[in-house]
Symmetry: C2
Subunit: 157 residues, 2 copies
Amino acid sequence: MPTLNNLGYYLSGFTDGEGSFCVYFSPRGRMTLGWEVRASFSVGQNTSRPEVLNLFLRYFKCGSVRPNRGDNTVKFEIRSLKPLLEVVIPHFKKYPLLSSKRNDFDKFATVCSLLSQNQHLTLEGFKRIVDLAFEMNGFGARRYQKRYILDSLKMKI
Amino acid sequence: MPTLNNLGYYLSGFTDGEGSFCVYFSPRGRMTLGWEVRASFSVGQNTSRPEVLNLFLRYFKCGSVRPNRGDNTVKFEIRSLKPLLEVVIPHFKKYPLLSSKRNDFDKFATVCSLLSQNQHLTLEGFKRIVDLAFEMNGFGARRYQKRYILDSLKMKI
């Protein structure tokens, strides 16, 4: 087994291939601006090879490993802001990604910081988070289009 | 940029997610047993994110990065036996894979060693290579079924 430091580089390499940094928007009537914003770090893998996901779980000491609905994969995921800020983001600053996924990570880290300052509850902060989120890769898979989210704000203010 | 040692762990992590160890069989009438056997280490990636594949190229100082025919991906690949034996296999012994892909790597290393001893030119050695190759993952994508390859030998001996 590699040392903890070597494992850090290994897991960043694995993340550069299989990991995702995402920001999700869910409609919530009770929220000031009508949307809940959640950040998520996840790593997927075929159900037959869950070993490295369990390694992420032991290394980060937070998150969960669960079957993904609808396909033959399993996912390690952290969605709570506190461990994202205190564990995940410091990890990827110490053991940096070396692909263009680094750009997603940088935007993700900014969004998490804005969320921790409750900036998503202000119109300006929320719009900034929407901009950052939709500049990140993978936005094609999102349920709501950027235009739809921004248009909905007009009815709130 | 991480040190060379840290990069070794990073690239093994990336390989555990995105890499493949394969053994291919191609019909060749002029070969003693009618089949050419080739080993290949490859790492695939979406065309929009070739950075880490170029990192593999610089790190291993062999192989090539090429667009994959038929889909929107690009592939780093080493198919020559000498660099597989002298560079790739020693790398993954020093910086081990931590998923079940390790089993594929172990079989792959045995096949490469058998090829270097020309064991694929003997009936016994060839059959052992076929057994090992079809125990490795990803055999579903192979062009020829194990039974077809083994049956064809009967006409040769």
